[in-house]
């Protein structure tokens, strides 16, 4: 699994632009407000970071997955028989 940094970056920037339009046309901020400049850039960065971190709370992909079921050590009589961890062909 891996994130979507480019999509996050573009999505964040577009969200910033649309929020800018909402704020201006809703009369929340003045047309010359510096918020209108900061918001798209800030959300661009937030989108990029969210994309890099996605999915939130995942473990590192480089770390090997923990082995839940350990194969028992084969005894002398079972040495010839296939291990349960080996792949068996479908019947």
């Amino acid at each position: 699994m891996k994130g979507r940094p480019v999509r996050g970056l573009i999505g964040g920037f577009l969200l910033g632009i649309f929020l800018d339009i909402d704020l201006v046309f809703g009369g929340v901020v003045k047309l010359n407000s510096v918020v209108l400049t900061i918001l798209p850039i800030a959300l661009l960065v937030v989108g990029l970071l969210l994309g890099l971190w996605a999915p939130l709370g995942r473990s590192s992909p480089d770390r090997p997955a923990p082995q839940i079921f350990a194969a028992p050590a084969p005894s002398a009589g079972e040495a010839a028989s296939p291990s349960i961890t080996e792949e068996t062909p479908p019947i």
């Binding site: 994130g3 969200l15 201006v24 009369g27 003045k30 010359n32 407000s33 400049t37 999915p55």
Partner: protein
């Protein structure tokens, strides 16, 4: 993870009002006076913000009180302010310069703006310079009368904002693993 979400939400809730809060605008600074009359209502230099009709004729007057008279070089502009990096643009015929012996002026200006401009707050600023030095500055916040909620640009933008939020929420989801 919950803490990060709470922190981000807190930053948005607290940050936007802090960043959008600006000092109260001074109106006219210097020995100048200016008035505008629209549909019989007079707006003067003491008003920091006004709501005016979208369409109308403004009967404007401007004057400067100075001890010296005679002909001198003057320069001035009335500009509409945009956020950085866009700066300011001169509105209509709001620019003057050159040698002049006039110390007061008046006129009528007709304006007609579309209904989609009802809602935004515009800042108009101006200055007047005599003999190369600025003697008067001023600004006023203007909003056109009309309903914001009937503005198609605002409605369309709100819809696109919701779609953008959904898109951004999908960004943080895991990609499906295909074998």
């Amino acid at each position: 993870m919950r803490l990060i979400r709470v922190l981000i939400a807190g930053l948005i809730v607290v940050g936007v009002p802090i960043l959008s809060a600006t000092a109260a605008h001074a109106t006219i600074k210097g020995p100048c006076s200016a008035t505008g009359t629209i549909n019989g209502k007079t707006y003067n230099g003491k008003q920091a913000s006004v709501v005016i009709p979208r369409t109308g004729d403004v009967h404007w007057k401007g004057a400067i009180r100075t001890a010296t008279g005679g002909k001198r070089n003057i320069e001035g502009k009335v500009q509409l302010e945009f956020p950085p990096p866009f700066g300011k643009i001169v509105v209509a015929n709001g620019s003057w310069d050159g040698p002049s012996s006039t110390y007061r002026n008046s006129g009528t200006y007709h304006y007609d703006f579309p209904s989609v401009l009802a809602g935004p707050k515009f800042t108009l600023s101006g200055h007047h310079a005599e003999r190369g030095s600025t003697v008067c500055t001023g600004s006023v916040d203007i909003r056109f009368s009309g309903s914001k909620l009937k503005n198609p640009i605002l409605l369309g933008s709100l819809l696109l904002t919701v779609i953008s939020v959904l898109n951004l929420s999908l960004v943080v989801r895991a990609k499906g693993v295909r074998s």
